[in-house]
């Protein structure tokens, strides 16, 4: 008997088939990895497993019994739990309060042996003991009465897992669990997976990080364009083979980059002693200084939430700096508006694709000119030149291999990778002197990652200065010439890209110095 069995599971949205006759089995007590490019249909499949969406046709069997979930509550009652990519925790409450949120234990007054009166007061001591007990059962490193906002991201994730375990779930679905973790925390999580497996839990791991797949899973299922294209025992396969199945062709996972000496080049972009405060007056970046030379890629590594986002916001003109200066060659561009930055020659690929980079409800053409819509080429006397815009857009769509179903349609129809390529096309093709690139490949399929990486390196060989901010350590290490690591708003270390090693950077990311 399998933990989960899907028989001809299909999900259609109108004409679009997100999942096409999926047949798969997930063995009890095993760790199964489900991999695939973004937009391949992994999330839809998991949402059907977890009751967030209903299949159009097909059957779902949990522990051999046919089920039909109306909501995620039904799924939890059947022993299925999901740990989401973005945590759903209340920061100001303690660990045990978060775990028991919604199923609080109330104090009871015993009137007689049979009749117990439930009071509205929560029995905190009892709750704490209960949570501490399961923490020990699963050997998690956690204290039941810590406040959630004070614990590390890895610990928060463990709270999420406990939330599910407490509800007697024995099939756990993890959606991209390692996206926000430091390398050390990833290792801890993988250990937890093994521990959970020893306790007899079934784990489904959705990921695109092949290292984790190879290290921890028993079985790999590859999904492509809504179909299962491969299902193998992990020990019989290799990461190269999985990558090939995902993309349908050979992929060079490590882009080759020739080393070049930039020490003689001019400094294109320099930041000195930059600090800023957020709306609450808290210093979010402090004393940031760096220089980027022409033809150089400077990587900014760090666990998310350590000031990288704010740094990019300040550098792209969305947030004001309180101290320090930014220079483009010998021009002072501190606290300039985004439009002046663009016309000065700075290309910006923002962190959040759909919030700052694109407008989902506008057409592809309208998005391709955004930020450059005042240029003489597309706009004369305040009137936009429709034909020019269409021509330029069509050229870019071809040059950057953006796959669109309908050219006049909105951006919302595009997959993550293709949407990102629109931003990349727009910013890279405007011939900038300096590029600020933030999280260029987040949620992007492997094929597009390869494409975007190659484009970044192309610009490097055209002698542009590039600032690359990413929480994907492998990306930073592959592309950068130099790497700075941010921790709590400060630069805590700098390493040569060539000599970088992930343990060293990982320690810096965790705020531990090199000694």
């Amino acid at each position: 008997m399998y933990a989960i069995e899907a028989v001809n599971l299909t999900k259609k949205y109108g004409d679009f088939v997100a999942n096409d006759n999926i047949n798969l089995t997930i063995g009890k007590g095993e760790i199964t990895a489900i991999v695939g490019e973004n937009g391949a249909g992994k999330t839809t499949l998991m949402n059907m497993f977890f009751g967030l969406q209903r299949p159009t046709s097909g059957e779902l069997l949990v522990n051999g019994k046919k089920v039909s979930f109306g909501s995620s509550l039904d799924a939890i009652n059947c022993g299925l739990g999901m740990v989401h990519q973005h945590f759903k925790l209340v920061p100001s409450l303690t660990v045990f309060e978060n775990i028991l949120l919604g199923v609080e234990k109330n104090k009871k007054i015993n009137i007689s042996q049979k009749i117990k009166l439930k009071t509205p007061i929560i029995n905190k001591n009892f709750e704490k003991k209960e949570v501490q007990k399961i923490i020990e059962d699963y050997k998690f490193e956690l204290k039941a009465d810590d406040i959630v906002e004070n614990i590390s991201i890895g610990a928060k994730q463990r709270v999420e897992i406990l939330k599910m375990l407490y509800r007697n779930v024995d099939i756990l679905i993890f959606d991209e669990p390692t996206a926000v973790l430091t390398p050390q925390e990833v290792d801890e999580l993988l250990l937890s997976f093994k521990e959970l497996k020893n306790q007899g839990k079934t784990i489904i791991l959705i990921t695109h990080k092949l290292r984790e797949v190879m290290e921890v899973s028993d079985k790999v299922i590859v999904i492509k364009r809504g179909k299962v294209v491969g299902s193998k025992a992990t020990k019989d396969t290799s990461s190269a083979e999985i990558a090939k199945m995902m993309v349908g062709r050979e992929v060079i996972l490590n882009v080759s980059k020739e080393d070049k000496d930039v020490s003689g080049n001019k400094v294109a972009y320099s930041v000195s002693k930059l600090s800023t405060r957020d709306n609450f007056g808290k210093k979010v970046i402090e004393d940031i200084s760096f220089e980027i030379k022409e033809g150089e890629i400077l990587g900014v590594a760090g666990v998310e939430g350590n000031g990288q986002s704010e740094l990019v916001r300040v550098l792209s003109g969305l947030m004001e700096s309180t101290e320090g200066s930014v220079r483009l060659y010998d021009k002072d561009i501190t606290n300039k508006w985004p439009s002046s930055l663009r016309s000065a020659g700075i290309g910006i690929v923002p962190e959040d694709r759909y919030a700052q980079g694109l407008c989902k409800d506008m057409t592809i053409f309208e998005n391709i000119i955004a930020g450059y819509h005042g240029n003489k080429k597309v706009c004369r006397n305040g009137i936009l030149l429709k034909n020019e815009i269409e021509n330029t857009s069509n050229k870019l769509i071809e040059k950057y291999d953006i796959r669109v179903a309908e050219k006049n349609g909105n951006v919302s129809q595009l997959s993550g990778g293709n949407a990102q390529k629109i931003i990349v096309a727009r910013e890279f093709d405007s011939d900038p002197k300096v590029l600020i690139v933030s999280q260029p490949t987040r949620g992007v399929d492997i094929g597009s990652i390869e494409f975007i990486h190659n484009k970044i390196l192309e610009l490097r060989s055209e002698n542009k200065a590039i600032l690359l901010v990413s929480s994907e350590l492998s990306e930073i290490m592959n592309l950068s010439d130099r790497i700075i690591v941010m921790y709590k708003g400060r630069i805590v270390g700098e390493v040569e890209g060539r000599k970088a090693d992930s343990t060293e950077i990982g320690l810096l990311m965790a705020g531990l110095s090199l000694e």
């Binding site: 969305l318 923002p350 506008m362 009137i383």
Partner: protein, 360 residues
């Protein structure tokens, strides 16, 4: 093909409330013992299919086209200028003041001066909420809405005091000079003001569909963060949008005064008022200039038609008010639905309630 679909959907979205309102109105007419078909046919014939009536309809449509456009441009940018009414009234009042205080100017000059006064006053009055919104992030909906009441008091005070025409039997300012009036063309009801409104419509059509500003308005309305990040100075754009809206509102009021009322009275704007009618028209026309043009003519036709109903049938002309009321109700459902996905939520609830019996 997809484009066609959305067009059909849009037309349906507009026609559905109109037809439902007419049907419900028809039921009410039938309930008072009159023939709804006769009533409607009189209304349509007199307001749209006779030359005289049609010109009158177009004449009344002119200020409504303008207020509709004034509202649409702010709504497109997802800012809500609820003060179109106040801006129009204030613009009209001061256009009137210039109309009767300045004397001896040639008509062209005098009319231009009055119209410009209306525009400038409308802009200045819209500037208050615009600045508050752009620099202090004060909710423009509240400010514009409340300022309408301020306008009511200001014009009441002024028309009862300094500008009161003692010869008039009720509260009213002096009539504007002959040279400041829009003349009727060939004795028909139509004046040059209608053509001014059409020109403004043409300009706004280009602004909405082809200009950089229209592009930015759309982007700000859909995603302000994106607009800011791609270098549109959102605060500045909000001020510009509000100023345009105020200018058109002021023009609407001034034109209405100079082509129809000729003097300012306390019930100048009528009930519910030019600005509020404009809001209904903008909603009916889905914030699209062409839609607004059609909706304004339709709405004006209802108004002119109502004058004839009383003459040719026994239905009181207030039935038009009833139809307007129903229309507002139906349109607001649509508006709410767009904002809060009402239908989707109901559908979801329905689905949930029918799928609870799974686990047994």
């Amino acid at each position: 093909m997809k484009k066609n679909n959305t067009l059909l959907k849009n037309i349906f979205n507009v026609l559905f409330p109109v037809i439902s309102a007419l049907i419900l109105g028809g039921i009410i007419i039938a309930a008072i013992g009159e023939n709804p078909f006769l009533t409607y046919s009189v209304m349509i014939k007199k307001s749209l299919f006779s030359l005289d009536g049609l010109l009158k309809t177009l004449h009344f449509a002119a200020p409504l086209i303008l207020t509709g456009l004034a509202i649409a441009i702010t709504f497109k940018a997802n800012i809500f200028n609820m003060g179109v009414e106040g801006q129009a009234v204030l613009g009209a009042f001061f256009a009137g003041v210039v109309g009767f205080t300045v004397k001896g100017l040639p008509p062209v000059l005098h009319i231009t001066l009055c119209v410009l006064t209306g525009i400038v006053v409308g802009m200045l009055f819209a500037l208050i909420p615009a600045l508050l919104k752009a620099y202090f992030n004060v909710n423009e909906m509240v400010v514009t809405l409340m300022l309408n009441y301020v306008v009511v008091e200001i014009v009441k005070f002024l028309s009862q005091g300094v500008f009161k025409d003692p010869a008039s039997g009720y509260v009213s300012t002096y009539p504007i000079a002959e040279s400041a009036m829009f003349k009727k063309i060939f004795g028909s009801n139509l004046t040059v003001f209608f053509f001014i409104a059409l020109i403004v419509f043409g300009i706004m059509y280009i602004v909405f569909n082809k200009s950089k500003l229209g592009y930015e308005v759309k982007a700000i309305g859909k995603n302000p963060e994106f607009s800011e990040a791609t270098g549109m100075n959102v605060s500045k754009k909000i001020i510009i949008i509000m100023l345009i809206s105020g200018a058109i509102s002021g023009l609407a009021g001034a034109g209405f005064l100079m082509s129809e009322k000729y003097r300012f009275t306390l019930d100048f704007s009528g009930s519910p008022g030019l600005g509020w009618d404009g809001m209904l028209i903008a909603l009916l026309g889905s914030h699209n200039p062409v839609g607004i043009l059609v909706a304004a003519v339709f709405y004006a036709a209802l108004k002119t038609g109502s004058d004839y109903i009383g003459v040719f049938t026994n239905v009181p002309k207030d039935i038009v008010g009833v139809i307007q009321g129903i229309l507002i109700l139906l349109l607001s459902v649509k508006f709410f639905n767009e904002k809060f996905y009402l239908f989707e939520k109901v559908k979801l609830l329905w689905k949930k309630s029918s799928s609870t019996d799974f686990n047994k």
